[in-house]
Amino acid sequence: MEDLLKPDYGVLVLTVCNFLLLVYLLKKFAWDRIISGLEQREKQIADDKKQAQDARAAAENIKRELDEKLAQISDEAAKKMAEAVKMGETQKEQILSAAKEQSERLLEQAKAQIEAEKNKALSDVRGEIARTAVLAASKVVQQQMSEESAKSVVDRVLNEIKAK
């Protein structure tokens, strides 16, 4: 059992040579290629991740711009709508006032026309009455009075009618 702790220098030297040779050969034929493959894959993953992040940032920028434009358009639409409503109100007021003026004018005209027609009718009635009166008077005169008295009666009647 004491041989367990007795070093065998031949084995020791052989192990050192074996291990160092293995390190060298593995580095030359395996590790360099595996490590470079790993680093390449990690680089690719990092690049892909960066690209994805850039694309996301670009998409977020576009979204932000579109949101801003949308907000601007909404503001403009609201402003135009308000202007249109205001304009509509003004036009409504103008139309109403014009209509009112026109109706008042028409009413005045109608009143004037009615007045004229009334005056004319009155004048016609007066003439008709005068003629009737003259006719009546002439008949009375023919029977009882002279021409001069008849005339004075007629004039008096006419004046009375005029006074009315």
Binding site: M1, D3, L4, L5, K6, P7, D8, Y9, G10, V11, L12, V13, L14, T15, V16, N18, F19, L20, L21, L22, V23, L25, L26, K27, F29, A30, W31, D32, R33, I34, I35, G37, L38, R41, E42
Partner: protein, 253 residues
């Protein structure tokens, strides 16, 4: 039956007695195991590095890349910093070599080479060489030696501290060898002892031996599983401690 002799026979290295021009060539069961492990690693990793497109090839490539990134990000870079990147192949090889040497002992008719003090001493010597190389490469001879004196040490204490620090580093490297050797040896001793229970009890009575068969095999199975765990653990510890010691001379106080 001499139990100690059986255990010794199972654990100890056996020289095959090969000589070349009168000189002894150290061809032993342990060195043959070492070489077999080296060959398997060399051929296996070379095949993996060719990046075969078969399912097994892709699986092994991914597995190996994960292993390399584990050694790089979990062992080398945290302890040695970016300077350790150039030593990554050494640590990747070291971990697999120690692991496969330990696992080889679980295969019937093969030996655990790391249960040999000469093998673990050789590995520790390589780690010591790496530590020395790191110190000389990054600080030069004077700077490397200055690194053994902690900053703020009073001048009169330097003659005492300096040799102590040197001895401390040598002991650390020696402990690497002893720790691995002791762990591998003890595990295999326990395994053979559990197997011997059957024969020792069987010598008393054949029925008792048969009765001891199942419990002994159960314990054997448990210990084998434990040995697999210990193999991984010791490979990790050896690699980690080497990187820590190398890092300590790169990044001095």
């Amino acid at each position: 039956m001499d139990v100690a002799e059986i255990i010794s026979h199972h654990i100890l290295d056996h020289d095959w007695g090969v000589t070349l021009a009168g000189f002894r060539v150290p061809v032993t069961t342990h060195t043959v195991t070492l070489m077999a492990v080296s060959l398997v690693l060399l051929l296996g990793l070379y095949w993996i590095s060719r990046r075969h497109q078969s399912r097994a090839g892709r699986l092994l490539t991914t597995l190996t890349e994960e292993y390399v990134s584990f050694i790089r990000d979990g062992v080398v870079l945290p302890n040695m910093g970016p300077e350790g990147r150039s030593f990554l192949p050494y640590f990747c090889t070291l971990f697999l070599f120690v692991l496969f040497c330990a696992l080889a002992g679980l295969i019937p008719n093969m030996k655990t080479a790391t249960a040999n003090i000469s093998v673990t001493a050789a590995l520790a010597l390589c780690s010591g060489g790496l530590i020395l190389y790191c110190g000389l490469k990054f600080h030069g001879p004077i700077g490397f030696l200055k690194g053994f004196i902690p900053s703020g040490t009073p001048g009169w204490l330097v003659p005492l501290i300096f040799p102590l620090e040197i001895i401390s580093m040598i002991i650390k490297v020696c402990v690497l060898a002893i720790r691995l050797f002791a762990n591998m040896l003890s595990g295999h001793m326990v395994l053979i002892c559990l197997l011997l229970i059957i024969f020792v009890v069987g010598q008393m009575h054949i029925a008792a031996g048969a009765g001891a068969l199942l419990p002994a095999m159960g314990l054997e199975l448990f210990m084998t599983c434990l040995e697999i765990l210990v193999a991984f653990l010791q490979a990790y510890v050896f690699t980690l401690l080497t990187s820590i010691f190398a890092g300590s001379v790169i990044h001095t106080h």
